[in-house]
């Protein structure tokens, strides 16, 4: 007698088959995930993936061995990852899971930074950077990005290549926290640097910001946009934005009034992406101890934003990334903490309609798993993260939509 088909078992088999190929489907769209071989060695972490204007992908990471940290990178070519190249090494670095090196690339060169402890203060560190010019084919000697000369906390850097070959660098600057008897707050500063590492312009963008959240920047048709976590005198720590338009920074304003009031550090900064006049910002908040990842969109270069879409609540610890595809779709990366932690991508169309989730990898709520970083090239997203299931190692994958 012919046995009836066991529907649940067949469904399970199909699901496992799809999962084995890394294929997940959303409500209306599919994605295909391809795990790429990692050029990073064992004991590597703190990775970032970044693309230049031509869509060439670069991966940077920090490896640690015998008390020495090494910042290295590799470029993805048609033959695979190029031989990794070392940018800098040191035994006096501040190596931190949330505040870690940035690599910026464009056709004229590269910029990379790391954090180096200051001699004078236990918790103080400087932003050190090297600048690479394709013309000279050489890196500069290490330079200190900030010019205050004050031993204080400096970090949470974001970088943005500008059209003239200079680079906009944004960072949190603790110089005011060391001012005499009445120390001030953490500030947000930015500067434009040429390929020699010389500061061309420098600004203070906000006089009082959250101490320990990442900054993020992107290029719109109107100019650079910077997003960060603000800090009011009443300890409201919502996400703010400011723009550089015609050489002048706009007054910082909130992208949404979460009214998250905490006398503490969320360690969970926002992420901005821009393409032409479109801007998307994803961020984490946890007002009333309810974790939430939200997304806003803009069609006017970030001058105004839509009402927030809730990407996930409450089963998330944030650690967000944002990317905009050529199709106009917006992709948000975040950590799902429903059971074991998972790295997720959620995609939305230009109108904010949800298109589907993609599970990238199992992860961990542990701080050692760090922050996944995403970058869009065409209609693909590259993502990097740290796998801590055994010896920590940087992983990288490509998701085609």
């Amino acid at each position: 007698m012919k046995k009836p088909i066991n529907i649940p078992i067949v469904a399970l088999f199909v699901t496992l088959f799809a999962w084995s190929f890394g294929v997940t489907s959303g409500a209306t769209a599919q994605s295909q995930l391809q795990n790429l071989p990692s050029p990073a060695p064992s004991n590597s972490s703190l990775s970032r993936v970044v693309a230049n204007e031509s869509g060439e992908i670069y991966l940077s990471w920090v490896s640690q061995d015998a008390g020495q940290a090494t910042l290295a990178y590799s470029r993805l070519s048609s033959e695979g990852w190029n031989t990794p190249k070392v940018i800098s090494q040191g035994s006096d670095w501040f190596v931190n899971w949330a505040d870690f090196p940035v690599l910026s690339v464009d056709s004229s060169g590269m910029v990379a930074h790391w954090l180096q402890t200051s001699a004078q203060g236990t918790y103080d560190y400087d932003i050190r950077a090297r600048f690479y010019s394709r013309n000279s084919q050489a890196w500069t000697n290490p330079k200190t990005v900030h010019t205050d000369g004050i031993s204080a906390e400096h970090g949470f850097v974001s970088m943005l290549p500008l059209d003239d070959g200079t680079t906009l660098i944004t960072w949190l600057d603790g110089r005011e926290t060391k001012r005499g008897d009445t120390p001030g707050a953490m500030t947000l500063r930015a500067g434009v640097f040429d390929k020699a590492g010389t500061v061309v312009k420098e600004w203070e963008l906000d006089h009082r910001v959250c101490d320990c959240c990442q900054t993020s920047s992107a290029m719109t048709e109107k100019g650079p946009i910077v997003v960060y976590r603000d800090r009011t005198a009443q300890e409201v720590r919502d996400i703010f934005t400011t723009h550089l338009i015609d050489g002048v920074w706009t007054s910082p304003k909130p992208i949404h009034n979460d009214n998250w009031q905490i006398a503490g550090c969320p360690v969970n900064g926002p992420s901005v992406a821009a393409k032409n006049n479109r801007v998307a910002v994803a961020w984490f908040s946890a007002k009333d101890d309810t974790p939430k990842v939200q997304l806003v969109m803009s069609n006017d270069n970030g001058l105004s934003f839509s009402e927030p879409l809730v990407v996930e609540t409450p089963n998330t610890n944030g650690r967000v990334g944002t990317a905009i595809l050529d199709s106009g779709s917006i992709v948000v990366s975040w950590i799902d903490t429903t059971n074991a932690a998972r790295i997720m991508l959620s995609r939305y169309d230009t109108n904010g309609k949800f298109l589907g989730h993609t599970e990238v990898a199992r992860s961990s709520e542990s701080r050692r798993s760090g922050f996944p970083i995403i970058e869009a090239v065409g209609n693909s997203v590259f993502i990097t993260w740290t796998d801590i299931s055994s010896v920590p190692q940087v992983k990288v994958a490509r998701i085609d939509y």
Binding site: F94, N96, W97, D99, T122, Y123, E153, T177, M186, D211, C212, E235, I262, A263, G264, C265, P266, V267, N268, F284, A286, D289, P291, N317, G318, E365, S366, R367, R368
Partner: protein, 154 residues
């Protein structure tokens, strides 16, 4: 074969007991006195400015609360290796116990979304309060009082 079955079973039982006992010893770092104590678990990080601000308060409070069977312990949010964690704790002037990862695992706490975060645990390890952000001494005393704890020698 039949004679071997009970013997094998006895060995298996002994092995299980041995494994269980080993695990119990390994995973039981808290003293017997701790089992009757309330615990204040403070998550900190070396780079967290408000954490550094409130640590002297916990240092001062720790011996006072011990008289009332309330133990203050700390957790390095960054999950650094144990030797590094203890060095950082020393550098930060932390005078109360810093939990190891195994000790923390026993408590079953969810890592907080904000630093500093301080949990108040009952002797049965139930989370009775979650205090988010920097706390004052009065905040801690109030949290304990809300649980009906009478503090000695305040």
């Amino acid at each position: 074969m039949t004679k071997l079955k009970p013997k094998k079973s006895a060995v298996s039982h002994r092995l299980l007991v041995l494994i269980f006992a080993s695990m119990t010893i390994f995973l039981q770092p808290l003293s017997a006195a701790d089992k009757n104590s309330w615990r204040i678990v403070n998550y900190w990080s070396e780079w967290c400015a408000p954490c550094r601000v409130e640590i002297p308060m916990f240092n001062e409070l720790s011996p006072r609360l011990a008289k009332s069977n309330v133990i203050i312990v700390g957790v390095n949010f960054d999950e650094d290796p144990r030797d590094l964690t203890l060095k950082i704790a020393d550098d930060m002037g932390i005078e109360f116990q810093t939990l190891s990862q195994q000790e923390l695992d026993l408590l079953g706490l969810k890592p907080p979304d904000v630093l500093p975060t301080t949990y108040l645990l009952s002797p049965a390890n139930e989370v009775m309060a979650k205090l988010i952000g920097m706390q004052s001494e009065q905040d801690i005393i109030d949290a304990l009082t809300r649980q009906g704890l009478t503090l000695l020698n305040q």
